[in-house]
Subunit: 303 residues, 2 copies
Amino acid sequence: MVGGEVDVPSGLPARVPTPQPGDPRLARLSLNQRTTAGWSLREAVDGCVAAGLPAIGVWREPVAEVGLDTAVRWVRDAGLRVSSVCRGGFFTASDPDARAAAHASNLAAIAETAALGAPTLVLVPGGLPDGDRDLVGARERAAEAIAALVPAARDAGVTLGIEPMNPIFAADRGVVSTLEQALDLAEPFAPAEVGVVVDTYHVWWEPKVHEQIARAGAAGRIVSYQVCDWITPLPADTLLGRGMMGDGHVDFPAFTRSVAAAGYTGDVEVEIFHADVWAAPGADVVATLARRYVELVEPYLAP
Amino acid sequence: MVGGEVDVPSGLPARVPTPQPGDPRLARLSLNQRTTAGWSLREAVDGCVAAGLPAIGVWREPVAEVGLDTAVRWVRDAGLRVSSVCRGGFFTASDPDARAAAHASNLAAIAETAALGAPTLVLVPGGLPDGDRDLVGARERAAEAIAALVPAARDAGVTLGIEPMNPIFAADRGVVSTLEQALDLAEPFAPAEVGVVVDTYHVWWEPKVHEQIARAGAAGRIVSYQVCDWITPLPADTLLGRGMMGDGHVDFPAFTRSVAAAGYTGDVEVEIFHADVWAAPGADVVATLARRYVELVEPYLAP
């Protein structure tokens, strides 16, 4: 189960030794299970344990495949923390029926998040409805949908985590485009109710991102720190342009220092969407990300 | 020379009649010559005249092909305004020799802009140097390079137009990512020295873009309004994802109202990069963009 000493997907020799289970540097590393898309939930849980990762970020679909009770038992029996649940959101529809369906789905997602013991449900806001060009209106509907979920989240002890998305996805996936905007949306609510996800891939370019990270930290609103690189050239399918840390343009030491200085002490999730990463053996992917993490991220996590 | 009644690149029948030369609605419409990439400068000048467009945005390379004096004579003899010159910038290099070369190239571009009688030289800042992940540093170098060009621009009567670019290009093309950031960069200088380009494709997603357009207008800093749509799915070559107005997600009436309310009275340039647009006959492209312009942009230009 332990991966090899060749980096995925570059094929280059590893620059640092693979950290082994029990290595204290792994104490906050979480595998977002979508990074090993070829693995089932069972395989992902086992892969985390084998590699010494103490946490996993799970997606709703693979949890639903095995059933929530089974998923809860598996992660508990493996001794893993669930660092986040992906994903709620997609609540920008203007049609009343679609809005009601999204609300119901998000209520279920909140309950699942609570059952899994995860601190946060990641909210991907969704894009513009078909043929609709009113981005301001879509953003207002996202704000209304979040407000409508707050009571259930509070009751469940789950923090809603607004994920600002790279503007490349503003039309079709996520109308919340900056950390600043996500914080503005979160502000009317208590930090335990609504927080923000800091994902390097999505916000690395934001002009005042370090100030916004400090703002988020001061307000106690950082619910998840996700690492993933911005690579160029973008692949033909831009959804799969999320690269392994170190393969692209993101300054991970600088980002990690900011997040640490902002007081974040939670898990660090690696979430990569990349065809070559998905095609590689899961254990090799986990070994590579663990090496990159101890080289580029973990040393900068000390406050 | 006059294009047909079928829209490019959609192939759909035109929704409105093609405006004819002399139509007062064309009084501010400019063809950025890159939109008709298959046309030489001579063909683009003739194409504008045939279609009744009073202005053209020129690129330096096709001007250099025929020589600056010839280009100046052609546009003057055709009675065209040059709405902008594309493009200066690309001054984020850290190597001193590369920086000196970029400065020299920009000085030449300023002189060309003055000779062509254009109000502004569009500045595309450039991306991160190879292997460099210090985005903050690259942005600082862009600011320094702009400051170094201001005396020459002032002497030449040319306004430097900072073009914020969609964050999709932050790594490899343009480190200035928002209209707000461009305005922050422009602020130390007089409005006649440094302004900003409002290009719908680049800033359509910006959370506070309407406030920033108002800010830009109040400061007298809008030097160019460029229209182009954000289309999905993005093509494999993301540089060619700039679509015809109306084919994508941009709310042109809302943007145009904001730009008009901000006091902008200059030309409106259509700048489209799209493989199917480039493959179409230039006259058909110009006819389509003129129709889309009088439908989606021009009615909203009245202050």
